[in-house]
Amino acid sequence: MKIDKDLIKKIATNARLNLTESEVNEFLPQLKEILAAFEEIQKAPTKNIEPSFQPLEIKNITREDKVGTCLSQEEVLKNTKHKSNGYFKGPKAL
């Protein structure tokens, strides 16, 4: 897998990170080295093997659809500076 500066910048944009040119320059050889080591798993014999998305088998559980206690609006908004009329206030959408 060829990894270059453009790919790192593209991934950073997808992940909502602005990397500086010096960060990109620092990351490039590091990521190349790491991904080369990760390549090792391609050799593992996984034909007909199911993936383990969890280490133990876990079953879905459901609960009754009843209203319980939850945090108040005030508590939920306590940790933000960006609020208005009891709502979060976000940046412009467009």
Binding site: L17, F27, L31, I34, I41, K43, A44, P91
Partner: protein, 453 residues
Amino acid sequence: MIIQHYLKDVKKGNISIKKTVKSILREAKTLNRKYNCFNVISEDLALELSEAQERNSKGRLAGLPISIKDCICVKNVESRAGSLILKDYKPPFNATIIQKLIDEGAIIIGKTSQDEFGFGGFSTNTDNIPKNPFDLDTSCGGSSGGSACFTQLTKNPHASISESTGGSIANPSSFCGVASLTPTYGLVSRYGLIDYANSLDKIGVMTKTTQEINPILDIIAGKDEKDSTSLSIKRNSDNKVKKIAIIKEAFEIENKEIKDLILSNIKDYDVISLPLNKKYSIPTYYIIAMSEASTNLAKYCGLRYGATLPLKGNFDTFFSKVRSEYFQKESKRRIILGTFARMSGFRDAYYLKAMKVRTLLINEYKKAFKKYDILISPTMPILPPKFSEINKLTPLQNYQMDALTVGPNLAGLPHTSVPTGFIGKFPVGTMLISNHLDEEKLLNFGEQIENRD
């Protein structure tokens, strides 16, 4: 004094809870100036809880001081998982295990320092770096470095609640010479844990000695309807250890002294080979951990909690600016790698492949547990390194230090790190691994081989 004796003395009225709590708070403040083991010492909460317990002591942990890794939410106490992007975040709720501990009379004394979001094995990827109790120029290990550091240094009765994704409990407990248990995946509720990688994270316990772990585990274990991954089955009560084996590949490490010390402490063992784990556990672990981490970190954007900036520009500019400003370098690196491994075109080759390799690794362990109760390995392949040595490591070399601990973490297997003595001034830990839910066997055997001299 071990935890059990303290709890008994409190019950008899021989010891004042308030006095103990004041003493440990004083101690924590003094030690913190030198060792950076806490991000926050929650003095007000501790005094309030101890007042209530002094008036009317109740619960199975009445009056026991407990420190909490920074990544676990404590109501109205800054909980930032060692990250600047969560600066000043005071959760409006308690994690399930915090509520359970408080309900049983425990006293929460503070939040311990750690690598940002648990991203590291030396607790150096953060703004508050804990220092090793045996040498100030040396790492405590990580990511639960602050927990291990304080557990070693305190002279008061105390337990620390920490968290492991790929070895973050075992590693620092080995480097700081304390006992620990990382339980079976799902045994302890993670509701209120600031998560790193959901299919790997486990909350566990550190104490000075192995025998002190069980009273804490008894409280925090159990099904929680707020955590859909928590297990409804209980751990096995059988604690008899009949057959043990050392893991051949884990003893092929360069440091002969570590190897010899650990082997001199055990007898009547077989040798078992786990070749797939040796070959694949590091890349498998890091692909899964980084993929999950990069999605978990998507929620930090300066809007609802934590660090922020003035609302300027559109969504993308604002969120990107906050994230770029407050995430530290290792977080950025893992976000890039994790996002890459999940991108269309690469997902099958990395993320999905790693999930399949994980099945192979689990099967390899499961086969071993058909024959053996416990598998043995050094916890860490090296003695705790100096900060100056850590600075010279590349990120990949850093990741490779986790070679011995990522296997059981990937498979969700319970493991302990047991104090095994010293080489020079530094402690060494033996890692014991058992089948899922066989914690009792681990703790029983751990007690037998523990050596704190």
